[in-house]
Symmetry: C2
Subunit: 349 residues, 2 copies
């Protein structure tokens, strides 16, 4: 029996082979009617796609794309360096695209990748991404996609993250262990996978310790320093927290600024801990306690998985969640030494 | 008279029009022999290139490329944000490529751009770039190129920089004014335009103030934190400088680490000033005096010039040097208040 290939379908339907290919991959730029005609004939003639065709089509640009929500963030810069360490070994170029937390930019950029500009995509989602149709479409073109940090488990692929829930719980527990009873949580977006997990870690730690949960202590910061400064100033004045857990690096820095402005002493009046990969956190006055994520390793792992797929020409990755452990680094911003000292002094007197 | 175009030349020489086009643009992937044949015939028939042809060929990807030497550096992340602010207005995507200071990566990536992947290039050179043949080749393809920060005036195009010489002179003078007489200069690479100017600013300030110039006080740091830590430790132990001017952000941070290790008090034992756009420099213990570059504005200006060229379809930019002023921000790391206080105390006693 004569084999049925794309060219044959194209000829019979009086369409181009690329239109047939796109229609079979359910591409967005082919009309519903055309897709229906193509699929009907393909089924009728028992068309079997050539498993090597898409392999051959891909794997040729020697470029991978990395999509990140922001650049002025030490987690992402370190993760990118981890990715590049692997790409370099493999002789690949890495192109970085920043969405600035805008889903429109994420969607528009992923559309550009439909034409084979790159061989693979590593992506950390923007905070405004609500659905992942654009990534499902892209995956259908045979482009391997790996998530890191901000992931979406709806897409069947590999997700590399850190233990956001556990780290967040641990950070909150650390503040409680050091004497805090009124702890504020500075968060970015509940709609990201990590924002959500970090919030839950905080909430559960507060509740497990029998402390009251005050919704006004959960501050949704923005992406704008001025607005966030105002939000933090209001919080510190009105709610007078004795502990702050900043789930984003930038918010911990802003919190120091606001404390300086309000003449609040860290850690005596207020203790601060933040998620941060800032190399200079230890030089702060006082040194900042942090949850340090293995950012470089996360990037490295994400890239390794992508290149394994490219090497094996398996362009649809299997679903897996790889979770790296973060570390709590205790520094003076959460120290209770002065409370201890005061207690000792009282005993003496 | 019949006009002579690419197609005509191609037909007469039995070559493809794209080969003719590349040969006339002196492209690297056409042999010398073919180039000679093409040029000979073009001259013979008085071929005049269509001035609009390359304009039409370009200006279609709606992508610009930004090439930077490193990503974990607040100057570059801010400059990229400045570039993106303009690209966003123009409906352009920005792709970022990091050379990690390797000229091989810079050359390989610019070769990828020969095929019209992007409409323009903004580049800050790697420290190992010795000549700019790769950029001259790229410019010949009609791709507009703009330099920022680390520039090379050999290429006829726009260069956006900051006043590196003056800022460096000012930083050194500031240390001298505050009592330093033995000032070390931590520099990266003399072969970059900025490394060279910053060194000259330091040298001239030292000499203009009648201080001895000690070559051992000029430390060539690397890109490796461990090696640099060792270099700085050796410097501080052997040469005992009373002032340090770090011409790269990372070196100032390392210098704080080494001072902490050696129990040197900043600013009492040693004063430190650095080039830095680190938002947290004011939170250091003590707050770090910095030369703050208008990084966002530099990126914005570089992008504006590129888009003006794209709008006007003038793909060969005119040579111009645009210099932005940096600001010296005085903080406690260079303060001489304690010296003053000591002097006052002596007077009182």
């Amino acid at each position: 029996m004569e084999s049925v290939d794309l060219k044959k379908l194209a000829k019979l339907l009086n369409l181009s082979p690329s239109t047939i290919s796109k229609a079979l991959r359910d591409s967005y730029d082919i009309s519903k009617e055309t897709k229906a005609r193509v699929i009907a004939l393909a089924n009728e003639l028992n068309y079997q796609p050539n498993p090597h065709a898409s392999s051959l089509r891909r794997h040729r640009s020697k470029i991978i794309a990395v999509v990140i929500p922001e650049i002025a963030n030490n987690f992402f810069t370190l993760a990118v360096n981890g990715i590049e360490s692997i790409a370099q070994e493999k002789g690949y170029h890495v192109l970085i695209y920043i969405t600035h937390e805008a889903v429109e930019k994420e969607v528009a950029f992923t559309k550009l990748l439909h034409n084979g500009r790159v061989d693979g995509l590593l992506i950390s989602l923007s905070s405004t991404t609500k659905d992942i149709n654009h990534l499902e479409e892209l995956q259908k073109t045979g482009l391997p996609i790996v998530f890191f940090d901000r992931v979406c488990e709806q897409l069947n692929t590999a997700c590399i993250t850190t233990d956001d829930y556990e780290s967040s719980y641990k950070a909150t527990q650390h503040l409680i262990d050091n004497g805090c009873t009124k702890i504020a949580h500075l968060m970015f977006s509940e709609s990201t996978s990590i924002g959500n997990k970090r919030l839950k870690g905080y909430v559960n730690a507060v509740q497990d310790n029998g402390l009251p949960l005050d919704e006004k202590m959960i501050v949704h910061c923005t992406n704008n320093d001025e607005q966030d400064y105002k939000l933090l100033e209001d919080l510190l004045k009105s709610k007078k927290p004795d502990g702050v857990f900043a789930s984003v690096e930038r918010y911990a820095i802003l919190c120091y600024d606001v404390c300086n402005r309000l003449n609040l002493s860290i850690p005596n009046d207020i203790k601060i801990i933040g998620f941060s990969n800032l190399p200079a956190a230890a030089l702060f006055n006082p040194p900042l306690s942090t949850i340090k994520q293995p950012a470089f390793e996360i990037g490295k792992e994400a890239a390794s998985i992508l290149f394994q797929a490219l090497d094996k020409k398996m362009f649809k990755l299997k679903q897996e969640n790889i979770v790296f452990k973060s570390t709590l680094i205790e520094r003076n911003s959460t120290s209770n030494s002065i409370i201890k000292k005061a207690a000792n002094n009282k005993k003496v007197s």
